[in-house]
């Protein structure tokens, strides 16, 4: 009897250890899938290095996939429908909210806690992630839009960097010298360059895309004035009939001397420093000529997959000082830190040799100003699922109609507002919102 008991206990222990070790094995995922929109080699390398270090630390392979910003909307939807959502995704704010409302992602509260809590983040950087008591994502980095200009050209004409939009228009008029243009309007429907620019001008005029109930109020007199301003700007200082430029084309246009000014993030300066040092040497930056800064944060979201805990852990790992600073240095200037301790002048972030160029530090400081007060397109009244309507091509189509088909501005704006409202209504209906 005693022997039987011993044998029974031994078998039980063996089975327990077998199953418990099996359970441990099954808890560890085969791999962690991470999608990001970073298409530049330096940022891909920086992400890969973080992934490699994480694998060394945990034994979990990290598989990265580059999904460019304009392609993310369809890619995650297809993945969600197929049940192949990534565990972690770095995206644009409007997509982060769209994913959250679709149930494709889960709150990133645990990731925020693991990083050190909301207090560790710079004021303003979390405001576009907070909805209904939860954080939709963790901002990876942030930037705001600056006035970027060719100081040599402005000096030649005896001009100062413009401080108001009227001055901006006048400077464009003065320096426009075809085939060198003052400024390039971005009207391509497959991108959202016009929507971004219009948002900037609308804020200055007091116009908005949405009211507090998320109904379209884009056809207000303020918005019409902003549209008129952009049309005037096109006629004064932009290449005629060039309707297919996208946001990324700005880099090439500035670097080749085809254009002299832009309103964009410090990525533009980085591109010039890397690819056209001669042009970078005659470039300068200033505060944009409007009151409300234009903020863009790039949220990291947690996919609604079976690896949520590991995903949170990996996100926290990305924010460990060495990893985070190395990533931010991949494009400098361009990506501002979102953590207070990293932004502090004593942190290792400021030890990069690139800061020996005063233009780099100036860009970072100017961008930092926009982090507090700025907001992203469609987020005037906080986080909502409709912001992506603003970047869905309606605005670009409207500008093309005004410029190419000579449709009166009021009519084009009204038609655009109707289409956008229809899209919002359909989405509200789908979400069951009143």
């Amino acid at each position: 009897m005693k022997n039987k008991l011993i044998v029974f206990l031994m078998i039980s222990c063996s089975l327990f250890s077998l199953f418990s070790s099996g359970a441990n094995e099954s808890e560890k995922p085969e791999k962690l899938t991470v999608w990001h929109g970073y298409s530049q080699t330096s940022r891909i390398d920086a992400m890969n290095a973080i992934g490699q270090k994480y694998t060394e630390k945990t034994g979990i392979p990290v598989e990265f996939e580059v999904v460019t910003w304009p392609n993310q909307a369809e890619k995650w939807r297809a993945a969600y429908a197929a049940g192949t959502m990534p565990d972690v995704m770095i995206c644009l704010p409007d997509q982060a909210t769209a994913m959250y409302f679709a149930g494709a992602t889960v709150p990133a509260d645990d990731a925020i806690k693991l990083i050190g809590g909301a207090d560790r983040f710079l004021p303003g950087t979390l405001k576009e992630q907070f909805y209904d008591g939860h954080y939709i994502g963790v901002p990876h980095y942030a930037h705001s839009r600056l006035l970027i200009y060719r100081k040599d050209i402005l000096e030649q004409h005896g001009l100062n960097p413009p401080k108001t939009w009227e001055e901006y228009l006048n400077v464009c008029k003065e320096i426009n010298d075809p085939p060198h243009y003052a400024f390039q309007q971005l009207f391509n429907k497959s991108d959202y360059g016009s929507a971004f620019m219009l948002d900037v001008f609308m804020r200055n005029e007091g116009g908005k895309f949405f009211d507090e109930n998320f109904n379209i109020v884009f056809d207000s007199p303020e918005s019409i004035r902003a549209v008129q301003f952009l049309v005037d700007l096109y006629h004064i200082g932009s290449m005629p009939e060039a309707m297919n430029y996208i946001i990324n084309d700005q880099f090439t246009l500035l670097n080749t001397g085809a254009t002299y000014m832009t309103i964009d993030s410090a990525f533009t300066i980085n591109s010039a420093l890397e690819n056209a040092p001669d042009i970078a040497a005659v470039m300068d930056v200033a505060e944009p000529p409007y009151d409300s800064y234009y903020l863009t944060t790039f949220p990291i979201v947690v996919g609604n997959t079976s690896n949520i805990d590991i995903a949170n852990d990996f996100i926290a790992f990305m924010f460990e000082e060495e990893n985070y600073v190395n990533f931010l240095h991949a494009i400098l200037p361009g990506m501002n830190p979102v953590l207070k301790d990293i932004e502090d002048k004593t942190s290792s972030y400021w030890e990069n040799p690139a800061f020996s160029n005063p233009l780099v530090g100036k860009c970072v400081d100017l961008q930092a100003k926009g982090l507090v007060d700025g907001w992203s397109i469609g987020f005037e009244y906080g986080v909502n699922p409709f912001a992506s309507v603003c970047t869905a091509g309606y605005v670009e189509e409207m500008f093309q109609k005004i410029i190419i088909d000579n449709v009166p501005i009021e009519q084009a704006v009204a038609e655009c507002a109707v289409k956008m409202q229809q899209a919002v209504d359909e989405q509200k209906e789908a979400l069951g919102w009143e």
């Binding site: 369809e74 429908a81 085939p179 391509n188 297919n244 899209a423 989405q427 209906e429 789908a430």
Partner: protein, 301 residues
């Protein structure tokens, strides 16, 4: 006896057995998505929530057909297909004839002329976007240098040139396929026909009319059907160069469907557009088949 019966049965139904794998693939990869798309087209399926909350019947179809955007997109698609086909067939035919005549370095010329067809569409669109760029494109540079134009032309960005530019790019890309297929077709024409043509003293044009074209009629038919389907459904060239703009001047039905379903998130309406596209392409193909079916009857007589 029993074994022989089984073998006979198997023999009788062998054809049906071979069809089964193809049929399964057809059901899984074609029939199921097609039925699902038809169903989706009658719902308010939104890409925001990834679900439909209402069955709307034919509402989506009525909205699409009653709006001008669909008809403009359809007309653009017809223009894009028609001019691309004309250009590709003309250049492809001339190139195939030339390759037939060339004696030296035939393989080198053949490979060179085939090169455009090997380009991935993304590389091709980047190449043309750079060449035709108004600020630093080589085409504008050459045309300005030759005093043909005063100011650079934004080929893909201007209303009057956008669709034309994509058509030119498509012709350059697609003619090698026509050339290669026709070249294979030439090999099937018996040499005796050409010898008789020589003896009869037919000139170049007459040889085309009485010898080559009648013998390549079916090859032309197949090419026409395939290229029509491919070009009419082509999406990437236009999307990557003009995005369907300016306005909707180069927007075809597949682009309209994509914008509606993915950018405007109305997947229900987007599905309805693809079903309408399917109907129109089917209609074109039916017309082609009818034309070629009639010719077959004539030749049988």
């Amino acid at each position: 006896m029993k074994d022989r019966n089984i073998l006979k049965q198997l023999d009788d139904h062998l054809a049906q057995l071979f069809i089964i794998p193809g049929l399964i693939c057809l059901i899984v990869f074609v029939a199921y998505p097609a039925i699902l798309t038809i169903y989706n087209s009658m719902t308010n399926l939104s890409m925001l929530t990834m679900r439909a909350t209402k069955f709307v019947g034919l509402k989506n179809y009525v909205e699409i057909i009653s709006g001008e955007e669909f008809w403009i997109s359809l007309l653009n698609g017809i223009k894009y297909t028609f001019y691309s086909l004309i250009g590709q067939f003309f250049i492809g035919y001339v190139a195939a004839l030339s390759l037939e005549k060339i004696i030296y370095c035939k393989s080198i010329f053949r490979v060179m002329l085939l090169t455009p067809w090997t380009f991935p569409s993304i590389a091709l669109t980047f190449l043309f976007s750079w060449m035709l760029d108004p600020s630093f494109g080589i085409i504008n540079f050459i045309l300005e240098g030759l005093n043909i134009i005063d100011n650079p032309i934004p080929w893909f960005g201007a209303k009057n040139t956008a669709l034309f530019s994509v058509i030119m790019m498509n012709i350059w890309f697609g003619f090698p396929f026509i050339m290669l297929t026709l070249l294979s077709g030439f090999q099937t024409i018996p040499n005796e026909y050409f010898e008789v043509a020589e003896i009869e003293g037919l000139n170049f044009i007459q040889k085309q009319k009485y010898v080559i074209l009648p013998n390549l009629k079916k090859v032309f038919g197949v090419l026409l059907i395939l290229r029509t389907i491919w070009i009419f459904n082509n999406y990437d060239f236009i999307f990557l160069t003009t995005g369907g703009g300016p306005g909707i001047s180069s927007q075809t039905v597949p682009i309209y469907s994509y914008i509606t379903a993915w950018k405007r998130m109305a997947m229900g309406r987007g599905s309805a557009i693809t079903i309408l596209l399917l109907i129109f392409v089917g209609l074109f193909i039916a017309i082609y088949f009818k034309v070629f079916g009639m010719s077959e009857k004539e030749s049988n007589l």
